[in-house]
Point group: C2
Chain length 368, copies 2
């Protein structure tokens, strides 16, 4: 049985994963920590290099997953982990690993990034991405792309080949063209599943619960969307510690199904969706973008380490509690310079995985 | 010779900027702190309510200012301070004061925001703005607007009448239209002075110093631009403590002269250009947007207070040193819940002012 198998794998992973927190037993969502005996357990770190990815947090429940679908996710996440590993194992730089893994996830229809991006209210796809180098604090980000096949590649070029950090819309695509980045016909981003998700979101909007203000209805439509869209937060991201001891982070997304008005979430916002600093950690987020922006999540984790002296797992937990306090859900992945990593989330699931020097990919999906 | 001239000016600017970071005594840059005896002196606080604004930091030198021009700036900044005061004095809310002051500055051609916005490389004007409520941590932001007369008004509507935080480009203007926000013909933003600044920036680009890579030339053209554009950072902003004890912040800008590729700076980025949190402070920034994004400036000030236990002025100084460390220049204004405020900058000048319950506007421009 696949379910049994994945349970077994999970338990195996749990031991290895034990990682995280060192904190609250729910950091790892019923994972390693509880198994390994609770809060005082030390986190096994990924040393001398490590790579952690996510494929989005949200309503992901075992009962609604087919074995085939689960396998597809596990395989693709493992492939992305191995791609990062290959780069790091041969002494490559953090951001090369981040880009290698994220382009793979962007090219898969499984995740809400690149090929699998969700549709806007207008029936278009608008992609956002960002990347940050913990050594130099250089960063690049792009928002509102319609024709760039791999937004993470463009984010990196913005960082490395322009004096800017954030480029948006048509202007960003002119830059892409000048730099020879692969552009595709917007039809490339069409997938039947995402299209159906848009139709459902629109239907839900037409029949909102009664006696609500327009704003409440809009807010409701966001929630309603998540009710039947397990991939609402299918954003992808990667964080990394390389052999040279440098940290890096990257994030890529298609944003929110049915989004309007050129809405941009946290993914392309340095400090919110992505942050990396060799003095502290590298972080990539996934969740209710608006709440993550307001909490400045990725930088908040770093700041709690830097100014508050908290270890990564504790800082990540604490920041996520701040998000929850104002009503936001989601998760994040983080890694520090000692190779400690954390993958907390407050949704029912988060596609996530890690790989260390032993070269074995570990993938988790559900909370338990 | 344009090259020589801009080189000389650049060096002058460099010297002035060397003041940079600095700590203590010039925090207030000729303001209350120095007058009252230096670094160890307590900052006079604005209680029970206070309002602080900036009109941009940059190369602003007394020797290059005419008396008429200086008077125009002082008058407009005083008017904006009084507008904020009126709101606060009658018990109005922070964000009403912020919006009242910023719309006045946006309507003036003196500042790089609204009417006085600088031109992009394409000869267009693209405006950005953001606002944040320290009580609720709600925030709104807009980027890449071409027809919205007062971007700060739209940022506030995004916060209050949509489930989103950040809207960009055409989409944001569709939202503006739906909400009845005043749209203007893009020609409204034409001012002869800004147009000439664009031409100078383009000329400088054509004759960059030799033996530089394309990236260095681009970076240089940013610096060269500032050499003859004293208003490079003419961004405007306001922070506020109201009688109810709530904090709020807002920022508005036309961005960078000659900007390309849909470049967006720190002004519409919550956490970078604007942040407010009743637990700590309200902050609005102005400066090299890219460096301010990478340092997540506004949130960093708050985090140093919250997690590091620093008082506002010290936190603001420390954050600005982080900006300077990676090569960035600019300034910020901040106010905390006790009415303490700070206005540090590491450029030669920053248009700035404050007003407290006594109703007397105080305006400063230069460092000395």
């Amino acid at each position: 049985m696949v379910a049994d198998k994945s349970r077994r794998r999970f338990l195996e992973a749990a031991g290895a994963a034990a990682l995280a927190s060192g904190l609250a037993s729910h950091t790892f969502a019923g994972g390693p920590q509880e198994k390994s005996g609770g809060a005082s357990q030390k986190t096994p770190a990924l040393r001398p290099f490590g790579f952690v990815i996510h494929g989005g947090a949200g309503t992901i429940e075992r009962s609604r997953m087919t074995p085939e679908r689960e396998k597809a996710y596990r395989d693709k996440l493992s492939e992305a982990l191995r791609a990062g590993f290959e780069v790091l194992n041969r002494g490559g730089a953090c951001l090369d690993a981040v880009v290698a893994a994220i382009t793979l996830l962007e090219d898969s229809p499984l995740f809400n990034a690149g090929k699998g991006a969700v549709f806007t209210n207008a029936g278009t796809n608008e992609l956002d991405s960002s990347i940050m180098d913990g050594r130099t604090l250089k960063a690049g980000a792009v928002a509102g792309l319609k024709r760039v096949k791999n937004p993470i590649l463009l984010a990196r070029l913005v960082m490395e080949q322009s004096p800017h950090v954030l480029m948006t819309g048509d202007g960003a695509e002119i830059f892409a063209q000048q730099k020879g980045v692969e552009l595709v016909d917007p039809k490339y981003f069409y997938t039947e599943e995402r299209w159906q998700q848009l139709q459902k979101a629109k239907d839900a909007e037409k029949s909102p619960p009664p006696k609500r203000s327009k704003l409440e209805r809009e807010a409701f439509s966001l929630k309603a969307d998540s009710a039947f869209d397990e991939h609402k937060f299918g954003t992808v991201g990667a964080v990394c510690l390389d052999k040279a001891g440098n940290l890096g982070a990257g994030t890529s997304t298609g944003g929110m199904t049915n989004k309007r008005f050129g809405r941009v979430g946290d993914s392309p916002i340095i400090g919110a969706g992505t942050y990396a600093n060799n003095e502290t950690c590298a972080v990539s987020c996934t969740g209710d973008g608006e709440y993550f922006i307001r909490t400045v999540v990725a930088h908040d984790v770093s700041a709690q380490m830097q100014y508050g002296g908290k270890p990564l797992a504790q800082a990540a937990e604490s920041t996520l509690e701040r998000v929850a306090k104002i009503g936001g859900t989601g998760g994040l992945i983080g890694i520090d310079r000692q190779g400690n990593f954390a993958m907390p989330f407050n949704t029912s699931g988060m596609y996530r995985g890690w790989i260390g020097p032993e070269g074995e990919p570990h993938v988790l999906i559900y909370r338990d």
